[in-house]
């Protein structure tokens, strides 16, 4: 009768001993059982899904990297990062519902997202009063304002990108004078068009043509036919979706346009050339950075390797710009030693230089937005040559 008792007693002692040893000698493993939830609202379906899924991939790369090193270190504790993904369908109402769910049910204090200005403006009435730290993208100026202290923009907008790219264009191609703008007919397109006009004027470029198109348009012939009458030196379609950009290039060339094509956004060169055609895409200037080419930092190389390890080839060059979301949030939480969004926000305000995969970055924009909440990273400029991206240079955006 005694043997079973003794056996079970020693079994229990052994298990407790193992737990004790693990707890003492491997504290990160033990502590990493704590979870830290972050909300993420991106367009994972609908017309904005290209960007939303790119953001999801980049954020997941960082999440896996942090969890692999034991987790997020806050004071003496370590937390495994869990991200609660919500799909805003590129639609304000869905984004608002997602935010309400994240704040009221999941009780998150940090939200990453979204791509759409309309979604962000719909979420801010929830995030700001609840002191939720909201790290966003989107191009609309009004997303950042002095009365929205908990919102930080983690990606460059057309304002900053074009402040880097237009001076580069005029310097590299001094004969360019006349610009044509083709932008989508929504809040993003209107905001970009304003930026283009203002920055073009600062760079002594003349806007010869500007017209909006409805998202979902595939036949640009009628619009481009009219555009060609203005005889532009380069055509800028920064706000167009990647596929639309390729179609515009293809149809411009079919109609006999010989000038430069330009977009202050990132593209996937393979997809772009498949739609536009390699010959038509020749010389296209974009804000894409080839992570295997010139001007590549160690951080970017590591990001490339991590990305390939998770998702395999081919690498999506649209993704790197979204890496800063979780990268800077992790740094800010660890520097503040707190999970309190107000303390993290204060740290983000105070620190002048953040280490990102693009090199040192900072928050600026006080003069333009009225609050220092816009990330400033280098602007990369590349050209399509024989179907490949060729890095042409980097510029730091100069404030207007």
């Amino acid at each position: 009768m005694m043997r079973p008792f003794r056996k079970s007693f020693w079994n229990r002692v052994s298990i407790l001993g193992i737990i004790f040893v693990l707890g003492v000698f491997f504290p990160p493993l033990y502590a990493a059982q704590k979870e830290f939830k972050i909300g993420a609202i991106f367009p994972l379906s609908g017309r904005g899904a290209t960007w939303g899924m790119a953001a999801q991939k980049a954020i997941t790369v960082k999440q896996k990297e942090v969890n692999a090193r034991g987790g997020l270190k806050v004071g003496g504790d370590t937390y495994k990062i869990e991200i609660v993904w919500e799909d805003d369908k590129y639609n304000a109402a869905s984004g608002r519902m997602a935010a309400e769910k994240l704040v009221n049910r999941d009780r998150v204090k940090f939200i990453l997202g979204s791509q759409s200005s309309a979604v962000i403006l719909a979420v801010q009435p929830i995030s700001e009063p609840n002191k939720i730290l909201f790290l966003v993208n989107s191009y609309a100026k009004e997303v950042l304002a002095p009365d929205k202290p908990y919102t930080f923009r983690m990606v460059l907008t057309s304002n900053e990108i074009l402040q880097g790219m237009y001076p580069w264009m005029t310097k590299t191609y001094p004969n360019l004078k006349n610009v044509a703008l083709v932008e989508p007919n929504d809040a993003t397109g209107w905001s970009i068009e304003k930026d283009c006009k203002r920055i073009a004027e600062q760079n002594r470029l003349q806007i010869g043509f500007s017209q909006f198109y409805e998202r979902g348009t595939s036949d640009f012939y009628p619009l481009l036919n009219k555009l060609l009458v203005a005889k532009p030196d380069f055509v800028d379609f920064t706000g167009a979706a990647p596929g639309d950009q390729a179609l515009i290039v293809k149809q411009l060339r079919e109609l006999g346009y010989k000038g430069k094509t330009f977009a202050g956004t990132t593209i996937d060169p393979t997809d772009f050339c498949k739609i536009a055609g390699v010959q038509n895409a020749e010389g296209h200037i974009s804000n894409t950075h080839d992570l295997l080419g010139a001007y590549t930092t160690e951080g970017q190389k590591k990001y490339y390797d991590d990305y390939i390890a998770i998702y395999g080839k081919p690498f999506d060059p649209v993704t790197p710009k979204y890496h800063t979301y979780l990268d800077i949030l992790v740094q800010a939480i660890e520097k503040s030693g707190s999970l309190d969004p107000t303390k993290v926000k204060d740290v983000m305000e105070k620190i002048d230089e953040w280490l990102t995969i693009f090199g040192p970055a900072k928050f600026g924009g006080k003069e333009y937005y009225g609050i220092k909440r816009q990330i400033i990273t280098p602007v990369y400029i590349s050209e399509m040559i024989n179907g490949n991206l060729v890095n042409r240079g980097t510029m730091m955006p100069s404030p207007p």
Binding site: S45, S218, P222, N225
Partner: protein, 285 residues
């Protein structure tokens, strides 16, 4: 405005209009015969484009063979959707409308899940441009124009002169009387769904090399189709042709003379038609 510029605007309108005709004709056919607003029609168009993409780019099938195969595949899918989803709700307007919307959302969602969010492309079949009275037109657009005209003529002749086409017209006019004459209403509906879906598949296959392919094509396409058939007359094939061409020309000339507000012209036309001729330009009262 020079003559060549005017011709370019006209040719752009013709191309745009024929694109709308291709998508709207199947949508209108279904309503004409079955009295069903098939909101999933746009998704069949999207699937037609994807079928062509997969056949051409992944299986290396010749483009014209892929075009026919895509029509067959989407026709078969249309029949399956009819037999399993629409037939149980036949003659019930509201449930069938909800079912059509649900199928559209289901196919759109599955498309995103299976094909991913990125834009895909079908390699161009013809390259280069041709000049028509000073206007520029790519050769692949010319092929689409000719194929669209061929399909519309074939459809019109089929409905007018073939026995099954006459049966369709009979069912559309008076279902009970047609049944009393020995016409199988259910088989006519099945055939109608197959033809309509094949047309959507053809539209997807024809336009895939011209533009791009992604899972979001359907909603925009069905919205345009709705505008076209309301203008032309719900259920009328000549109405779909007239409505599509009219919308194409209005958008092309609107873009040239009015600019940004062009997109709302279609909806303004819908309002005017509904006010003064609710049955549409070619519809019956």
């Amino acid at each position: 405005m020079t003559l060549s510029f005017f011709i370019q605007v006209f040719v752009n309108g013709l191309m745009l209009g024929l694109t709308y005709v291709l998508i709207a004709s199947g949508f209108s056919l279904i309503y004409g015969i079955m009295r069903l607003l098939n909101f999933a029609h746009g998704e069949f168009y999207m699937l037609g484009a994807f079928a062509t993409y997969l056949l051409c780019e992944h299986l290396g099938v010749n483009y014209f063979a892929a075009l026919i195969l895509s029509m067959v595949i989407i026709a078969a899918l249309g029949v399956v959707v009819y037999r399993f989803f629409f037939r149980p709700f036949r003659d019930q307007h509201d449930p069938s409308l909800v079912i059509a919307l649900a199928i559209a959302m289901l196919i759109g969602g599955l498309g995103l899940l299976i094909f991913g969010e990125k834009d895909k492309s079908v390699s161009p079949v013809f390259s280069g441009v041709i000049k028509v009275f000073g206007a520029t037109l790519s050769q692949e657009r010319m092929v689409v124009i000719l194929m669209a005209i061929f399909l519309m003529v074939a459809l019109t002749l089929y409905i007018k002169f073939s026995k099954t086409g006459q049966a369709m017209r009979a069912v559309a006019q008076d279902r009970e009387a047609a049944a009393l004459q020995g016409i199988g209403v259910d088989s006519t509906f099945t055939l109608c769904m197959a033809i309509s879906s094949a047309l959507a598949g053809a539209a997807g296959a024809l336009l895939a090399p011209l533009f791009f392919v992604n899972p979001f094509l359907g909603m925009h396409a069905v919205l345009k189709a709705l505008v076209v058939v309301v203008i032309g007359g719900l259920g009328s094939i000549p109405g779909a042709i007239a409505g599509g061409l009219l919308l194409g020309f209005v958008e092309s000339f609107g873009n040239t003379f009015l600019g940004d507000i062009t997109e709302i012209l279609g909806f303004i036309m819908v309002m005017i038609v509904l006010l003064f001729r609710p049955q549409g330009l070619f519809g019956h009262g």
